[in-house]
């Protein structure tokens, strides 16, 4: 039993463990808010495309650092740049509507990974980082990065709270939002930017490949129990934080990788939620047709 608590004992002694917990909890807040929007707006595939394309930025940053001694460049900076570029490309294709959106997302997804692999291949000693990019290593986050993560987190939280009615309208009924004079295209772009920033935060926790699960599973669980978007967001923050904390606690002693452990906890909770009929918490009105 005490082995389970080893992670918590380590918090006092090991700053890495404390960093991991702080980053996990910070990311959970953005994850719950934006994950809810991604799930209800059904743009999971967009989030997947953005997350995989981040490898290009991570690889480029590492190449600049190691091969060109640009020591101020952190992998997180590369990830941010790649995320914004992907949003621009996907957003442009969506809004112009000339190309099939899913084809464009698939292209961004694969080309991003290809660029990333090539940079990693030509960078000395970067191959061992590849696994932490792909599957995350929350324990590698430095204290300097925590401040950047906190800043991103605050930006995401503030935007989602201040723009809640508009984001809700665009996600629920885009045409009506347009009729009320809203510039729907700009709001859609804002949603993509928020998604990209959240994906960057989550990549530090669970890595490129597993991001979609952490973004969507807590929101999906919360969606089965929620009556409003705000309620779904709050619940999904709680579920995401729970997955992170439980995942970190379990991974420590048998020395399992933290990212996949967190995802398995989320998957387990999702399977559990499937067994509960939706909205048993609230009173359900009799259905009409």
């Amino acid at each position: 039993m005490t082995a389970v608590l080893d992670f918590w004992y380590a918090l006092g002694r090991n700053p890495l463990a404390l960093h991991a917990l702080a980053v996990g909890l910070l990311a959970s807040v953005a994850c719950g808010l934006v994950g809810t929007l991604v799930v209800t707006r059904r743009i999971t595939y967009v989030a997947g495309g953005i997350s995989h394309s981040l490898l290009a930025g991570l690889g480029l940053a590492q190449w600049l650092r190691v091969m060109h001694h640009w020591n101020w460049v952190q992998p997180l900076h590369g990830a941010l740049a790649a995320a914004m570029l992907s949003v621009l490309i996907i957003g442009w294709v969506t809004l112009r509507g000339r190309e099939r959106e899913d084809t464009a997302i698939g292209a961004v997804w694969a080309i991003g990974m290809a660029i990333g692999f090539i940079f990693i291949h030509i960078t000395d000693g970067a191959k061992q980082d590849l696994m932490s990019y792909l599957f995350g290593n929350i324990l590698l986050v430095s204290s300097g990065q925590i401040w950047l993560i906190a800043l991103l987190d605050i930006m995401i939280i503030a935007t989602v709270i201040l723009c809640h009615p508009e984001l809700q309208a665009v996600c629920f009924d885009e045409e009506f939002a347009r009729l009320r004079g809203m510039r729907v295209e700009l709001w859609h772009m804002l949603l993509l930017v928020l998604t990209a920033l959240t994906v960057v935060l989550l990549v530090t926790v669970v890595g490129i490949v597993l991001v979609i699960a952490l973004l969507t599973l807590p929101a999906a669980i919360a969606g089965r129990l929620s009556r409003s978007l705000a309620q779904m967001m709050v619940l999904s923050i709680v579920v995401c934080a729970l997955c992170t904390v439980v995942g970190l606690t379990i991974h420590y002693r048998p020395n399992l990788p933290p990212g996949p452990t967190i995802i398995l906890v989320a998957g387990f909770l999702y399977a559990l939620a499937m067994l509960i009929p939706p909205r048993t918490w609230g009173k359900t009105l009799p259905r009409g047709d």
Partner: protein, 243 residues
């Protein structure tokens, strides 16, 4: 000076990607007028609404809504789309759906000011849904959802109300409630109502607009039955050839 008409359409033609849908439409609706829009499936009724709302732009001709262009007049029009066009699982409360109607009215607080909350409550009570303010939209019946969407359109006190088949996929009791509600709006604003149903048209017979590629306005009739509707509008979309 004569009053500016609610809707004025002159020589409007529209084609979807080269496929003509509406040809040379001429139509004037005075303020406060109540019109049923009928016509076979695919005859261009919804397209006509989308032109009024500025969601589509005519290839030819002009549309003036309350003396303005469709884009300028958008916030003065209430629009009720068909209720089954939504994600049925979307988690949203009834009051939040109605609040959406208040968007685009300048600065607003995230949680809605007191005046806004009062308007939302008033609109929901007007459609008989005051008691279900906090219920999730997804748990409502088709008729209840349609009433909520009408409340969303009414919350801005529109001068024109466009309803797109408000009783489609609604059971008989729901239909009766919705029609009673729409009848109560007569005289308060200009109303245009798209419908397929003879029973609906027969209650709103003062102006019947038949849309089938072209539009014809039929003056007030004593009664309407299925036979008469087929006679005046046809029962299938006619080929809308290029001019």
């Amino acid at each position: 000076m004569a009053e500016i008409p609610a809707i004025e359409v002159q020589g409007v033609s529209f084609a979807y990607q080269g496929f003509p849908v509406l040809r040379d439409i001429n139509l004037t609706l005075e303020r406060g007028q109540f019109a049923s829009v009928v016509g076979p499936n695919g005859s261009g009724k919804t397209t006509l609404f989308r032109l009024f709302l500025g969601l589509l732009t005519p290839d030819r001709g002009t549309i003036r809504i309350l003396g303005q262009s469709p884009l300028e007049s958008r916030t003065r029009i209430g629009y009720v789309p068909q209720h089954f066009a939504f994600d049925p699982k979307y988690p949203i409360r009834v009051s939040d759906v109605v609040r959406m109607g208040c968007l685009g009215q300048g600065h607003r607080w995230v949680w809605g000011g007191r005046a806004e909350r009062r308007r939302v409550r008033g609109a929901l009570e007007a459609v008989g849904m005051g008691g279900q303010r906090n219920a999730p939209f997804s748990t409502l019946s088709g008729g209840q959802r349609q009433r909520v969407l009408i409340a969303r359109a009414l919350v801005i006190d529109p001068e024109i109300l466009l309803l797109d088949e408000p009783t489609a996929n609604v059971d008989a009791m729901g239909e009766e409630e919705i029609l009673g509600l729409i009848e109560g709006l007569r005289g308060e604003m200009t109303v245009m109502l798209i419908t397929h149903s003879v029973s609906v048209v027969s209650r709103f017979i003062e102006t019947i607009i038949c849309v089938n590629c072209e539009a014809h306005v039929h003056p007030a009739m004593d009664h309407v039955d299925a036979e008469l509707m087929r006679h005046i509008c046809g029962h299938r979309p006619i080929a809308c050839e290029r001019e």
